[in-house]
Amino acid sequence: MIRVQEQDFEFGTELAAMTEGNHGIGGVCSFVGLVRDIASGETVSSMTLEHYPEMTEKALADIEAEARGRWPLEDALIIHRYGRLEPGDNIVLVATASAHREAAIEACHFLIDWLKTKAPFWKLEETPDGGKWVDARDIDDATAARWVEDKSAFGGESDAAD
């Protein structure tokens, strides 16, 4: 499931909902991204996330479908916020549930890496020097590219087409 929203989320509630009543789940892996109060050595007072609404939900749904094709998941969840956030605020929640811990962990890792390079969001950080658009980092492309070549143990055995 994917959700794109301005309001906050409560991950205890979200994760409990994933596992509720499904006793085939052996592991749930989650990642929460938060706004830091410092970036590149500068104080950050706020971060505003802009996105491309007509495209975002489709892009996130494609990323979720890719993960479900690669790993045997019982459930997958992506919640991505937009709008103005402050340090300590939640930005994104990714969670994966599987019978097997490796599948849950790898799929969660994959989802957050691909969000970085494939989800149409842009971040404007407010610093003492004014607003600065966060640069995409080459390292993020490299990290995401790993999932194209280095198939995981599960991914390599998957029937899914890539």
């Binding site: 991204g33 802009e50 996105h51 491309y52 007509e54 495209m55 489709k58 892009a59 991505h80 930005i91 994104v92 990714v94 957050i112 890496d113 969000l115 970085k116 390079t117 494939k118 989800a119 149409p120 969001f121 842009w122 971040k123 404007l124 658009w133 966060v134 640069d135 995409a136 993020d140």
Partner: protein
């Protein structure tokens, strides 16, 4: 053809979205960018370095060589930073 601009491309172009009717020689994303640059002003600044511009055609990521046609929605933006 509907054009959308995001993040600093939006700021430099000075516009969120616009409807355009490029001439028929504009067949690809690259052609469209050159045509927009030639309009000068904010567009010339926004597209000064096309290598750092990312594009989506009808909400799908596109390459410079991909086709564009009347009725398409074409979005321009910097590399994305989701997550």
């Amino acid at each position: 053809m509907r054009l959308l601009y995001f993040a600093w491309l939006r700021e430099k172009a000075g516009i969120n979205s616009e409807e355009v009717n490029p001439p028929s020689e504009v067949a690809t994303v690259a052609d469209l960018i050159e045509w927009l640059k030639a309009r000068g002003g904010g567009h010339a600044v926004a597209f000064a370095d096309p290598t750092i511009v990312r594009v989506a055609v009808n909400q799908e990521y596109a390459k410079l060589s991909d086709s564009v046609a009347a009725g398409d929605e074409v979005a321009f933006f910097p590399p994305v930073t989701g997550g």
